[in-house]
Amino acid sequence: MKQPVLKGKLSLLILCVLFFVLPLALNSRSWVDLFITIVVNMVGAVALRLIVISGNLSFAQGAFMGVGAYTAGMLAVYLNVPIWLSIPAGAIMATIVGLITGWPFARLKSVYFSMGTMFMGQALMLMISAWPLAGGALGLQRIPSLTSALSGVADVLHLKGYQACYYLIFLLALFCLVIMYRMEHCRIGTTLRALAQSEEVAASIGVNPTFYRLLAVGTSCFCMGLIGGVQSHYLTTISYSSYGMNTTLWIIMYMMIGGTGKFVGPLYGAIVISIVQGIANLLTSLSGSSNNESFVAFAHWLGANSAYTPFLTAAVLLVVAYLLPGGLVGIPDTIRANRARRAEKKEAAEIAKGGSK
């Protein structure tokens, strides 16, 4: 009983150390950019899974990130709100919008919840796209940059500007992940899972379904808003199109490719797919500063063929869809099941042989 818990925690610890050390060791902007993308996607995938645990699939995760990003960005652009206020404000705004819009949908189940959130997410982004103050179709520009806000801290810690940014984003992401990890691994998680299995039964034991659904949605939106807010300051220019259905669908895929069975699943999914998607850009930009000829040649080749990286992503998706029903975290189970099936077959064959003698 005890061991799996420890194993789960160990892999989390290793991931945490890697994500702390590597961006320092890999002393280049393109690497750190990749790590920022991964960390942002991790929060997205885990935050989505929190809603999935309660039995629903949200199609507005990208939009909630957008609410956080635009809130933080606009507060900073128009009201000169400092980042340590604008970022939390983005998280709070995303939570409020999530709760208000989630209220009518929290009572809906499965397909209707998905439909409701899908329409709502799309509606939010349409409004932002047409709002002149939000920059309209051009997006919101000249958001005060995280790099300059953190330049003092970066100097003191002897970090490069982009590294300081990474560590702030990493810390905020860690904060979100710890909250969601705790929620899943206490009675709140049990109650959410119970709700997913039978709302009827859950209500009969005194669980208020609306309250718990909104608790999951609210926490999820808070995390999306927080990470969206900090990212907007890092990017300094944001566009509504980055928070549309495509983003939402990718978040869903990170989660499913990693597997929803365990907390670490979406983390793995976000890592693998973000790397696959970003590898060509990364290598191309690294090749500029490398002396290794074959590496440069390889990177150039990859860069020239970067139009084909979607094929690589597609291949990963197909492998998971056909071979890994439980996603990446389901691999041990899949192997075990296959081994058991093979052993059974062997046994059956031996019995058949014995019978024919």
């Binding site: 705790r182 929620m183 206490c186 009675r187 709140i188 049990t190 109650t191 899972r193 119970a194 299995q197 039978s198 009827e200 039964v201 209500a203 009969s204 034991i205 005194g206 669980v207 208020n208 379904p209 608790l215």
Partner: protein
């Protein structure tokens, strides 16, 4: 004062009246039967009481409070526990987890207490683990404690439904066909367990088609097509001409 009372309770689905003007009561400490032929409206009655369905008209009172419009989780909080005829379970939870999950109300830990792993929460969880094992022991489920609920044989699943309802520490327990699909041994065991609930201070209202249940009932209400056709003792029920002709089809 009755523990539970309904007056003029009516439920219509479109043009179909499935419950008509039902006056009903159950007193504290009773084991009462709520019987009637298939489609009489028994499960509907449970759903009306527990807020799963809203009555078209009429009133429901529990311990002196009107609960006509209360939601299922509020009804549970007030002390009414229930099982379901089709017996849905938390299938991916073990038997033990099904029961511990059901300790949502008594004792209750608030969300912050749970989240921050407070002392209250830890003590509550410790109590819950012990108490859940007692419930499993009481209902003879200890040996399947760590099985997934969905893998249990049907009879055990039914008993697990009762265990879960007991874990909510109800004052009034509504059992919808608790003996359905059980083998004779399980039936004997369950009937004994239900009669022991009275000793624990639980009032029980039971819907059942198996007439063995009559042995432990204090009183009976019989309905047919949503209307009361008999109220009295189990003995009186067996001899009542209306009950015999509408429920037992003329023979006993």
């Amino acid at each position: 004062m009755h523990l539970l009372e309904t007056s003029g309770l009516t439920k219509r689905f479109g043009g179909l009246t499935v419950m008509h003007d039902l006056d009903f009561h159950i007193d504290e400490g009773e084991i009462k039967g709520f019987l009637g032929p298939n489609g009489a409206g028994k499960s509907t009655f449970f759903n009306l009481i527990t807020g799963v369905l809203m009555p078209t008209s009429g009133h429901i009172f529990y311990a002196g409070n009107e609960i006509t419009k209360a939601k299922p989780h509020q009804v549970a909080k007030m002390g009414i526990g229930r099982t379901f005829q089709l017996n849905p379970l938390f299938g991916d939870f073990t038997v033990f987890e099904n029961v511990t999950a059901a300790y949502h109300l008594r004792p209750h830990s608030t969300v912050p207490q749970v989240f921050f792993n407070s002392k209250v929460y830890k003590e509550n969880e410790k109590y819950i683990a012990e108490s859940a094992d007692e419930v499993l022991e009481f209902l003879g489920l200890t040996h399947v404690r760590n099985e997934l609920a969905k893998n249990l044989p049907h009879g055990y699943q039914k008993i697990l439904g009762v265990a879960r309802a007991l874990a909510t520490k109800p004052k009034l327990l509504l059992l919808d066909e608790p003996l359905g699909g059980m083998n004779p041994e399980e039936i004997d065991f369950s009937i004994k367990a239900i009669s022991k609930m009275r000793d624990k201070g639980i009032t029980v209202l039971v819907v059942e088609h198996n007439m063995q249940i009559l042995d432990i009932l204090d009183s009976v209400t019989v309905i047919s097509f949503g209307e009361k056709i008999f109220e009295g003792t189990p003995e009186g029920m067996r001899q009542d001409p209306t009950v015999i002709s509408t429920y037992f089809g003329g023979t006993v």
